[in-house]
């Protein structure tokens, strides 16, 4: 009963999440294992911390090696650890039919599950400066032109939204499957874009202070302006194509 209940509730959700990691610039073996980790659901569920597709120093000077290492090994790792704890508790609660406890776990699942999903997406939509140019043609360029006129205007609008987030949160470029358009949104804390808004995440910018404090201190606008230099547009386009 445990396994069946777990598989019918947790597995589909995590398998959906793994779509984003599967279509990836990572070597096939790593992307497959990441996807497998995100979707594998033995009783108790085991999310794992994905490796970065580059060295910690790869995004310097926009984001320092120190920040990348802290962000990955401390912050993201803590979400993974705590997600697994919450999933184990969920497993017990489900098998006991304890609805009250299931509901009580929602906060921890959203915080830590959202934190895990968001960061897994984030690492993949970043790359070394100069390694990926914005496409001169293709579906991403077209979608952005249709919605924003041009990529510079999109950056300006998205930057303003990111800078305006009060407290902790994320800025997102997302795809609306119902309208076929791309939109920009922010979500507070670790609320995941798709579960919260229905938009498919294409590009995320972490604006929690931990994402930029070492390198930019309180000056979030400088971080947001600089991060455009390390966006992996190939990945963003892949996600758009997969979502359409």
């Amino acid at each position: 009963m445990t396994t069946a209940a777990t598989k019918s509730i947790i597995a589909p959700a995590l398998r959906a999440a793994s779509v984003h990691v599967r279509s990836s610039v990572l070597p096939a073996s790593i992307s497959k294992s990441c996807a497998a980790h995100l979707s594998s659901v033995p009783p108790g569920g085991k999310a794992t911390l994905p490796d970065l597709p580059y060295d910690y120093a790869a995004l310097s000077p926009v984001i320092s090696a120190e920040t990348m290492e802290l962000h990955h090994t401390k912050h993201h790792n803590a979400y993974v650890t705590n997600l697994n704890i919450a999933l184990e508790k969920l497993d017990s609660a489900v098998s006991a039919g304890d609805v009250s406890s299931i509901i009580g776990l929602q906060g921890a699942l959203k915080f830590n599950g959202g934190g895990h999903l968001n960061h897994a997406l984030f690492w993949e939509n970043l790359c070394a400066k100069g390694s990926v140019a914005f496409p001169t043609s293709g579906p991403l360029k077209d979608c952005i032109a249709a919605r924003f006129g041009d990529v510079d205007n999109m950056k300006k609008e998205m930057s303003a939204l990111c800078v305006g987030v009060q407290g902790s949160g994320w800025g997102w470029l997302g795809y609306d499957a119902k309208t076929g358009r791309i939109e920009i949104r922010t979500c507070p804390n670790q609320d995941p874009l798709e579960a919260t808004t229905g938009l498919v995440p294409l590009l995320g910018i972490d604006v929690w202070e931990h994402a930029y404090y070492v390198d930019y201190r309180n000056v979030r606008p400088n971080y947001v302006n600089a991060i455009w230099d390390v966006i992996n547009w190939t990945k963003v386009e892949e996600r758009l194509v997969a979502a359409k």
Partner: protein, 267 residues
């Protein structure tokens, strides 16, 4: 403070406590209307309101390095000179041309006043409150709760140690997720432990179960601890007790208990 703002803030503070105590007796909206009508009557009866005096960042009572090793000097400097200063600049912008309101009084209707006042008016009050409740560790360790405060702590939490444990649990990353503050407040004749998000505080109507008066508060935004502690918020929180000035907290307790109003701050 001008006579007008004194009257308004006394009225609002008095009404705030009356509000929570009479909630069962009167419908909330009747009492609210009464407060607004009284406020409007006083405002129109008064002289032409003065242009808003700018809020300012109060100087710290100690040098930036004074709270070492528990809070590092670079953090104190950036926290005060950049973060707090930004809230002050923004609240001044948001209230430009409007009637002067004491920063404590501004908190009550901050939610209604909109995000600029809520985030920046809250940010200014919270940080001004925060600086003054701390002291260098050598001084802090000589302070302790007054008999009255100690009695209140024991009544509401069992003991000071139990209060600290509850406070630390409330401040943990899994309990107060993202940015916010943790407070000990006077509410009626009890002390209550409250966490608030972003720059909200319990003086703001609509934030806590009822308006409450903080006597102790801790900033758990990442900027408050990141340079020294990185993601280790629990370590920051447990170290923080070393710089709490319990004499000031006791003064805060005496003030809010007597006046049923928020602790005044400098700036």
């Amino acid at each position: 403070m001008s006579k007008l703002t004194f009257i308004l803030s006394a009225l609002m503070a008095g009404s705030a406590s009356a509000f929570s105590m009479t909630m069962k007796a009167q419908s909330g909206s009747n009492l609210r209307r009464e407060i607004l009508q009284k406020g409007a009557a006083i405002a129109t009866a008064a002289a032409v309101p003065a242009a808003a005096k700018a809020y300012s960042v109060p100087d710290l009572n100690y040098p930036f390095e004074a709270l070492e090793p528990y809070i590092d000097a670079p953090t104190m400097k950036i926290h005060h000179d950049k973060h707090h200063a930004t809230y002050v600049a923004n609240i001044n912008k948001a209230t430009e041309g409007k009637e002067e309101v004491d920063i404590v009084a501004l908190q009550l209707n901050a939610l209604e006043a909109g995000p600029a006042v809520r985030n920046n008016g809250g940010g200014h009050y919270n940080h001004a409150f925060f600086w003054d409740e701390m002291a260098p560790p050598d001084e802090a360790k000589k302070t302790k709760p007054s008999p009255a405060l100690e009695a209140a702590i024991n009544k509401s939490f069992g003991s000071l140690d139990e209060m600290k444990a509850a406070f630390e649990a409330r401040a943990a990353p899994g309990a107060l997720f993202g940015s916010g503050w943790v407070w000990i407040c006077v509410s009626g004749d009890e002390l209550k432990l409250v966490g608030t998000p972003n720059q909200d505080n319990p003086l703001m109507k609509g934030v806590a179960d009822s308006v409450m008066f903080p006597i102790l508060g801790l900033d758990v935004w990442e900027h408050a601890y990141y340079l020294k502690y990185q993601n280790r918020r629990p370590e920051y929180v447990s170290n923080w007790w070393n710089v709490v000035n319990w004499d000031k907290v006791s003064e805060n307790f005496a003030y809010v208990t007597e006046k049923k109003a928020g602790v005044p701050v400098r700036g």
